[in-house]
């Protein structure tokens, strides 16, 4: 037998064996995928059924009729506190500095929203109890003309001037903590495709249904910024997490506070992982699943009272990033039925 023939024979005999092994692996993988798919389908079906049964309600109404003192609001506050504890734990576990920043929303000139009035002292106290650095920007925001820093009367989100204003407010916070170093590094194959929730390299015009078009650009890692992150990092990384108040809708990338700040502070890398219509459970999952792999040295969480009332189950079922079905608790259901459904 010539050596080449022997090789053929070996290959012919070996192929079914190899094939068999591969098949077994494939089968396992397929079964796993099928299981995951079925779970996902079941989750989607449950969510659809819940959303059909409980259409989303305007959260702000939870605060009416002395809602801030209701048992339901106490339940939501407790939930918020637990998520904050979790996020603090997850962030500090990476060696990063965790900072909470209260940004007052401006929906109309004048009095703050009821949820802000009730949420602000609770957040301040919770952070103090947990030993989390909390920076309250309310007084600085109150000193501004709402018409200057927001797009009012069309929308309460920030204007170009608002972007500049917030960059000025963020700078001392960043400067104070930029010396902190995270202690973890991840291998290339450990990192997810993106660190933020935007599609990689997203480049489109959006208007949020409000006829205020803006240019959204994301880097390859799904963060709202103009360059891609490289590893190993060479500069301190500051990660901003939060809702639309950090995402800055209705402004082109170049006018949002994080981009303005980046230009003013080239010695650090400013990462914007803001999510529209988000609450604190979203930040917890975003950090655990994606953002921590960017290896931030400082994590600045923007929050306000909205994050507390957005934890109401019907809001989460409609807009949360993971779309995990939330079955109402007894208090939530009682409130829903009493107020909206019947």
């Amino acid at each position: 037998m010539k050596p080449l023939h022997f090789l053929y024979l070996l290959l012919a005999a070996g192929t079914p064996l190899l094939h068999g092994c591969a098949n077994k692996n494939d089968d396992k993988e397929r079964q796993h995928k099928e299981f995951e798919y079925k779970q996902h389908e079941a989750q989607v079906a449950k969510l659809e059924s819940l959303n059909k049964e409980y259409p989303q309600i305007p959260d702000e109404r939870l605060m009416e009729n002395n809602g801030a003192n209701s048992p339901l609001y106490a339940e939501l506050k407790e939930r918020y506190k637990n998520y904050l504890i979790q996020l603090n734990k997850d962030v500090t576990a990476t060696g990063a500095k965790f900072v909470v920043m209260i940004m007052k929303p401006i929906e109309k000139p004048g009095d703050p929203t009821l949820n802000f009035k009730a949420g602000r002292p609770f957040i301040l106290k919770t952070c103090a109890d947990l030993g989390i650095d909390c920076i309250d920007l309310t007084d600085q925001i109150d000193a501004q003309d709402p018409k200057e820093i927001t797009l009012l009367p069309r929308d309460g989100h920030w204007s170009k001037k608002g972007g500049e204003f917030y960059a000025g407010l963020f700078m001392p916070i960043v400067k104070k903590h930029m010396g902190n170093k995270s202690t973890v590094t991840y291998k290339d194959n450990e990192r997810p495709e993106t660190f933020g929730d935007l599609p990689p390299n997203d480049d489109e015009i959006l208007d949020g249904g409000k006829d205020i078009p803006y240019h959204l650009k994301a880097n390859v890692q799904g963060l709202r910024m103009d360059y891609d992150l490289k590893f190993p990092k060479t500069k301190p990384r500051i990660l901003f997490m939060g809702s639309s108040h950090v995402y800055f809708p209705f402004l082109d990338n170049e006018y949002i506070a994080t981009t303005v700040l980046q230009k003013q502070m080239p010695e650090v890398e400013i990462l914007n992982a803001g999510i529209l219509s988000a609450s604190i459970d979203d930040y917890v999952s975003l950090f655990a699943e994606k953002a921590k792999y960017a290896e931030p040295d400082v994590v600045i969480l923007q929050t306000n009272g909205g994050d507390i009332i957005h934890l109401y189950f019907s809001n989460r079922n409609h807009v949360s990033r993971n779309q995990t079905p939330h079955t109402p608790t007894k208090l939530e259901e009682a409130y829903y039925k009493a107020t909206y459904k019947y």
Partner: protein, 472 residues
């Protein structure tokens, strides 16, 4: 109730079924059509069509009276009075902001200050009634005695929101004797509706946001981005308006009533004159019949002729809205026209370019390119909310940044326009864009299904948008 919604599809399916069920009973059919039109109009803003029916009643009674008056001077007096009544209503509701808003002490008398909501389609139905009453005066048509028929003609749902502006001589008789559509006509109508929906929902709706972005942020953009942005606006306004007009034409033909073609491939025009003959043809015909000809038309001296043309373009601008930008747009278009008139290069082309060929020749291509860009530049004034934006936008385009790299996100939007342009070019000599003569039924049906698939797949996920021309 917009044409591009499920609500309208359900509404129209019911109307079509009942309309054909009662087809043989003319009176019942007409009453049903009028009720359907009133319901359609009511549903649009959930307001009763009081103003619409007032205008219909005034013009109807005036027409009846005019048909019984023999002396011409009395008829003329009645015509003037009627036009003044109809015109004053339109002028007050639409233009009082521009006229009274700038006079100190008169601001509170503006329509908006008086909380008067502009009835949708006001320009279209007012022009239709003025056209009707003028035709009765001229005795080119007989006054309609049946109120149901007349009211159906004016409030006819396929055309009330944004035309085509109906000519009574051509359209009114069809309400008495609509033609039962043949299978061929049904196919043509459905094909026209599909192509109209494609243009509106795929092309226009996908590029609208980019146009809005360019005009809202013109100060931050380069000249090249803005130039591409205003060119997108040209495609948008065409796809939006002509798409809507084609849906209107298709739906109307299924009811046995033929509306005029409002757009005849205007982007393939070789000079501004040709473009105006192909763009919004029903408004052009209205202006010819009721302004141009009464003022003397081409039979007057050159200076007066120029003045008439100039007036018509100003009028056309003003028809679009009470804004200096529209007047400016009209005036500048009039100036284009003069240049062509003076340079004697104003050929009255009868056919579309490249007749019988796949591609145009170099000269035609250049002519089309120039004409398209001339019209596009003027649309800066058409689209801008005020003169500050218009001049700022225009100056940016005229700056050196015209040669800078544009935003790629704008360039990518052309992916929506170019297939439309290519298909319309290839099909430009057909009666309707999806016409495929001598092609087996199975292939034709496949094409229609493909268009439906494209609409379903590419239509942006947003609530249905109004046609841009509703506001006029």
């Amino acid at each position: 109730m917009l044409f591009n919604t499920k609500d309208f599809a359900q509404f129209f399916a019911i109307i079509l079924a009942v309309y054909w069920l009662v087809w043989q009973w003319r009176e019942v059919r007409n009453v049903f059509l009028l009720l359907a039109c009133s319901y359609f109009y009511y549903r649009f803003r959930n307001t009763l069509p009081v103003y619409l029916y007032s205008i219909i009643s005034v013009s109807y009674l005036s027409g009846l009276a005019m048909s019984r008056i023999e002396p011409q001077n009395k008829r003329k007096a009645l015509l003037v009075v009627t036009i003044v009544i109809l015109g004053l209503g339109l002028a007050y509701i639409k233009y009082s902001g521009l006229l009274l808003g700038n006079i100190p002490g008169m601001e509170q008398w503006q329509a908006s200050a008086m909380h008067i909501i502009t009835p949708i389609g006001i320009s279209y139905f007012t022009f239709s009634t003025i056209g009707y009453i003028t035709d009765v005066y001229r005795r080119t048509i007989v006054a309609e005695t049946n109120f149901i028929v007349y009211a159906s003609y004016i409030s006819y749902f396929p055309h009330i929101l944004c035309g085509p502006i109906a000519s009574a001589a051509g359209l009114l008789p069809q309400f008495k004797n609509p033609v039962k559509p043949s299978l061929e006509v049904i196919e043509a109508s459905v094909a026209e509706i599909l192509w109209g929906l494609y243009k509106k929902m795929v092309v226009a709706d996908n590029i609208a946001i980019m146009v809005n972005y360019c005009f809202a942020n013109y100060k931050d953009q380069t000249g090249s981005t803005l130039f591409l942005g205003v060119t997108l606006f040209s495609f948008f306004i065409y796809a939006d308006f002509s798409g809507y007009s084609e849906i209107a034409r298709g739906t109307s033909r299924l009811l046995g009533i033929e509306l005029v073609k409002n757009f005849k491939m205007p982007f393939f025009s070789r000079n501004p004159g040709e473009m105006w003959r192909r763009w919004h043809t029903s408004l052009r015909k209205w202006m010819l019949d009721y302004i141009y000809l009464p003022l003397g038309g081409a039979k007057v001296g050159k200076t007066k002729y120029m003045l008439i043309i100039f007036f018509i373009f100003c009028f056309s601008g003003l028809w679009h809205g009470a804004n200096v930008t529209f007047i400016c747009w009209g005036v500048l278009n009039g100036l284009y026209f003069f240049v062509y008139l003076f340079s004697n290069s104003f050929t009255r082309y009868k056919d579309l370019p490249g007749k019988g060929k796949l591609l145009p020749n170099g000269k035609e291509l250049l002519q089309m390119f120039i004409t398209f860009n001339l019209a596009t530049i003027m649309r800066i004034f058409f689209r801008s909310p005020n003169m500050e934006v218009a001049t700022g936008f225009f100056m940016k385009i005229m700056s050196a940044s015209l040669f800078a790299a544009p935003l790629m996100v704008v360039v990518r939007k052309y992916v929506w326009c170019l297939p439309m342009l290519a298909i319309e070019w290839v099909q430009r000599e057909k009666d309707y864009v999806l016409q495929l003569p001598r092609v087996p039924v199975a292939i034709r049906v496949s094409v229609y299904i493909a268009v439906i698939g494209a609409i379903w797949y590419f239509c942006p996920k947003q609530s249905a948008t109004e046609c841009y021309y509703f506001k006029f």
